[in-house]
Symmetry: C2
């Protein structure tokens, strides 16, 4: 049925956990940080730097005034962002052809739009996302609920901007996904069991 599943997810919705568990269950490869690591290897840029570019709104134009005229020229960071995106697209295409796999984020749903995909969007309400972030935070991080909410909103805004810039699509718009899953007050393992059932041979072929 489907050899490739892409997962887009709200920050703190448990989308990565869902992806990892689903990949384990189905025996699919799982690509998430692996994509960043591979871009870093190929571009010789640090993983942290690549991560930062991929999770942020691209810088677009840098205005330059010459005489009385205004010339928009491309910002050097923009060029780098575009190079990284191109590498990302190449890597994701390669990964999708190697073996059945799950790809988290990185505009995977758009990059692989010509293929037969199951495109998931994972979301939850704010309280649930705050709670999940709190539980998963490093021990030395003590953000207040207010700070966590702010962080979640910021990360999602940047994800949306990056996605929209390179795909021309609206991040989170239901028409870009086949199935949208609400993880609020739900056990991720249960959802994984349910989705994995879609891949049972007698249902899907």
């Amino acid at each position: 049925m489907y050899n490739v599943i892409t997962i887009s997810r709200q920050f703190g919705s448990g989308g990565r956990e869902l992806g990892r568990r689903l990949a384990e269950k189905l025996g699919f490869a799982y690509y998430d940080d692996e994509i960043i690591a591979e871009i870093s290897k190929r571009t010789q840029l640090s993983e942290e730097y690549v991560q930062q570019i991929v999770e942020h709104r691209p810088v677009t134009l840098m205005p330059i005034t010459i005489g009385h005229s205004f010339y928009p020229v491309q910002h050097p960071l923009m060029e780098q962002s575009q190079n990284i995106y191109q590498e990302q697209a190449r890597i994701i295409l390669e990964m999708s052809e190697k073996s059945p796999c799950i790809i988290v984020g990185c505009c995977g749903d758009y990059i692989l739009r010509e293929k037969k995909l199951l495109r998931l969007f994972v979301y939850a309400d704010m309280n649930s996302k705050v709670e999940r972030c709190r539980l998963k935070a490093p021990e030395n991080e003590h953000l207040t609920v207010k700070e966590l909410r702010k962080q979640i909103t910021k990360v999602e805004k940047n994800r949306a901007k990056y996605y929209e810039f390179y795909t021309g699509r609206k991040w989170g718009d239901k028409l870009n996904y086949d199935l949208m899953v609400n993880t609020t007050n739900t056990d991720i393992k249960l959802i994984v069991d349910v989705i994995a059932r879609m891949f049972d041979k007698n249902v899907t072929e």
Copy 2:
């Protein structure tokens, strides 16, 4: 796991077909037009009239000017709409307690919010909805694509207004549903098979 499934659906998305097939497969009761028929029976209003009220934005206030003052008074149609809604809520509660069931539309997800529900939202892109409406249209109805689009938009707008008026919630907002299913270019039977699997004992208990 779940004894009650509510289905909210865009017009032409195949949500009713999905509900009917799912009910058959699970051996659940299926309530859709049955709710309107029951309201009609209890209120002595015609089914057509009840249908019209339930699928439309409620009329709210009727302005009356007495002397120089402006008095908003309740419109008689509004009172009728409220009576119908109250009957609808009573009937849906009763149905949900009688046996496992699927309830399509009629603010079921809100009316039964205190119960353990699986809340589905079924949607599709406009072309797909137009095509489904065209296929299901009565033989003597020959609407153009433009007219069908207009009809779909109007019906959905009215559904949203009715839902929002009585529930205070936004119709179609993903946080009001557990699972959102895109039926664009998809076989409803396949989706039904997949959702029915959620109800297999070994997955869900």
